[in-house]
């Protein structure tokens, strides 16, 4: 039953990619939920996280990574990129969005697009640095190879036609605990409740003594950190990064967030899994050149016919 194996393979690839998209989509949806901003810079933040990870690897030395040292490098990159992207996202909010809290949503959006341009160009500049990992910086815009620290061996046995590799394991081992942890933060902790309260009624939140600017800052920090984690597992999964990768990843994640009902975290994860599957199925059964068209097509259709998302409620619950 070859077609079954083939289908299972697309399922695995699609779901693994979907989980990576989900981490990015959560960053979109959290920020939208709390300040109604589509943070266009979020995908590019993710790109910079990958550049930081590659730079770190270059500094650690590009020898033969294997076994424990490879896993140690993975952990170091995960922590560094998450910290970096979290801090950067927090800083972007401070500089580009916070001064516009009482301005129109359109000004905020334009500011986000501006931030996105700045980050993309930072990525271009970064990729041009004369470092070994960037091929000496000869072609700043060229895609960079990301070392295969995580092996591609088939855990289901070499003779199996379905591939399930340590890369897939890495994706699930990183994303699932992060999502569980995030759910716990949002539903159980004081910060999480303050985040939900601020999202639902910012004035009332302030009247309760919540420092909403701090809560919004924390939201950017957490969303950015998730994007940082995503950047490292993406790079280890796909083994190539480029200064433009934030655009496609961002659009996938944004589409996922809209699909699941923007503002909803479970929705973002569900939407991301759907987008991941659509991508892998389209790549396999149609042609890769159709894939982006299909994803954007979904985005357009959802925005036209069901802007609140497939899982989102139709009525806006603003009091």
């Amino acid at each position: 039953m070859e077609w079954v194996d083939f289908f299972l393979q697309q399922l695995i690839t699609g779901l693994s990619n979907g989980m990576i998209i989900a981490l990015i989509a959560i960053g979109y949806t959290m920020v939208y939920g709390i300040i109604e901003l589509i943070n266009f810079a979020h995908g590019d933040l993710f790109m910079l996280g990958a550049f930081l990870a590659l730079t770190l690897l270059g500094m650690l030395g590009l020898g033969d990574w294997s076994g424990a040292s490879a896993w140690a490098a993975v952990v170091i990159m995960l922590i560094a990129s998450a910290g970096f992207c979290g801090a950067l996202n927090w800083g972007i909010d401070r500089l580009a969005y916070k001064p516009l809290r009482s301005a129109s949503k359109l000004s905020l959006l334009v500011s986000a697009i501006g931030a996105s341009f700045i980050l993309v160009n930072l990525g271009l500049f970064w990729g041009g640095l004369p470092m070994d990992v960037f091929a000496g910086g000869v072609a700043a815009a060229a895609p960079k190879d990301f070392p295969a620290l995580v092996p591609n061996t088939n855990l289901l046995g070499e003779e199996s036609l379905v591939q399930f590799t340590p890369k897939d394991v890495l994706v699930w081992v990183v994303t699932v605990p992060l999502m569980i942890g995030l759910t716990w933060i949002v539903t159980r902790t004081r910060l999480g409740k303050a985040m939900r309260a601020t999202a639902q009624n910012p004035v009332a939140a302030r009247l309760m003594g919540i420092d909403t600017d701090r809560v919004i800052g924390a939201t950017f920090l957490i969303g950015g950190a998730l994007g940082g984690f995503a950047s490292v597992i993406y790079s280890l999964y796909n083994n190539t990064i480029s200064f433009q990768m934030g655009y496609r990843a961002g659009m996938d994640a944004f589409t996922a967030a809209v699909l699941g009902g923007i503002g909803s975290m479970p929705g973002a994860v569900a939407g991301a899994l759907v987008i991941g599957l659509v991508r892998s199925m389209s790549d396999a059964y149609l042609e890769t050149r159709w894939t982006n068209t299909i994803v954007f097509g979904i985005l357009v259709l959802i925005l036209i016919f069901r802007p609140s998302g497939l899982l989102g409620s139709r009525v806006k619950e603003k009091v």
Binding site: R196, V203, A204, L207, M208, G209, I210
Partner: protein, 249 residues
């Protein structure tokens, strides 16, 4: 009864808790407050009445630090609080039940009450018990989403939530708005009960008659200025007030 008068404070009158002086505030080009001056003494219920758009809500929002005043001062328990952050003002003991209730619709009743106690880290159970005693329905609905409560229940929740911060002064903005008469009576009773237990109240009401009846003193706000003040009974008996705010010919 004169503009800006502070009433006839005798030597034995309780100390002033809140003193607003010459407060002005604007929304862009709109001058919402021109000159608001009022005082609330410890233990009083003071009401602020006025027509739609007179600036009642803006007055409370400016005192709470949500709207920035452009001039004038606000003193709470002898300390200037104008210009302070909203969360600092709540921490100082001044809470507000905002117009339109503004409960958190997708938090449970219980979580809404917890948010009221956001700045506290001590045991909430005695306060929860007190709020549940005041409004038993909130105990029955503890795990229900606040957005599913009726308007009157949401108002009770909004009051309970504000009480959770243990305020010494509670400002309430039109707690009777859009609520069945029976519940309005219940809510006003609760206000009086809280006041008897030591809570000082600044009450904004469209329902001027009910407000004046339960208030010790009142101020009239007209297009951003406080114009009249007197005891509740005085204002109830004043012809101009009766014509303008109590719907009497």
């Amino acid at each position: 009864m004169s503009a800006g008068s502070t009433g006839s404070a005798s030597a034995s009158a309780p100390p002033v808790m809140l003193r607003v002086h010459g407060l002005a505030a604007r929304y862009g080009a709109i001058e919402a407050l021109r000159e608001v001056s009022l005082e609330v003494r410890v233990g009083e219920i003071v009401s602020l009445i006025g027509a739609n758009g007179a600036g009642k809500s803006t007055t409370l929002m400016t005192i709470s630090g949500i709207v920035r005043g452009t001039s004038g001062s606000v003193e709470f328990e002898g300390r200037r609080i104008d210009g302070e952050r909203a969360d600092r003002i709540v921490a100082g003991g001044l809470a507000q039940v905002p117009e339109g209730r503004r409960v958190f619709p997708r938090l449970t009743v219980r979580e809404n009450l917890e948010m009221g106690a956001y700045l506290r880290s001590d045991d909430l159970r005695p306060d929860l018990a007190r709020v549940h005693e005041l409004f038993p329905v909130l105990a029955e609905r503890a795990n229900q989403l606040a957005g599913t409560l009726s308007g009157g229940e949401q108002q009770m929740l909004a009051i309970g939530r504000a009480l959770m911060s243990r305020p010494r002064l509670l400002m309430m903005d039109e707690p009777s708005m859009g609520i069945a008469p029976l519940l309005v009576a219940r809510i006003f009773e609760a206000v009086q009960e809280l006041n008897r237990h030591g809570l000082t109240v600044l009450l904004v009401e469209q329902n001027a008659r009910a407000a004046l009846k339960l208030s010790h003193r009142a101020y009239v706000l007209e297009t951003g200025r406080t114009t009249f003040t007197g005891s509740g009974a005085e204002l109830l008996g004043d012809d101009r007030i009766r014509r303008a705010y109590l719907g009497e010919g």
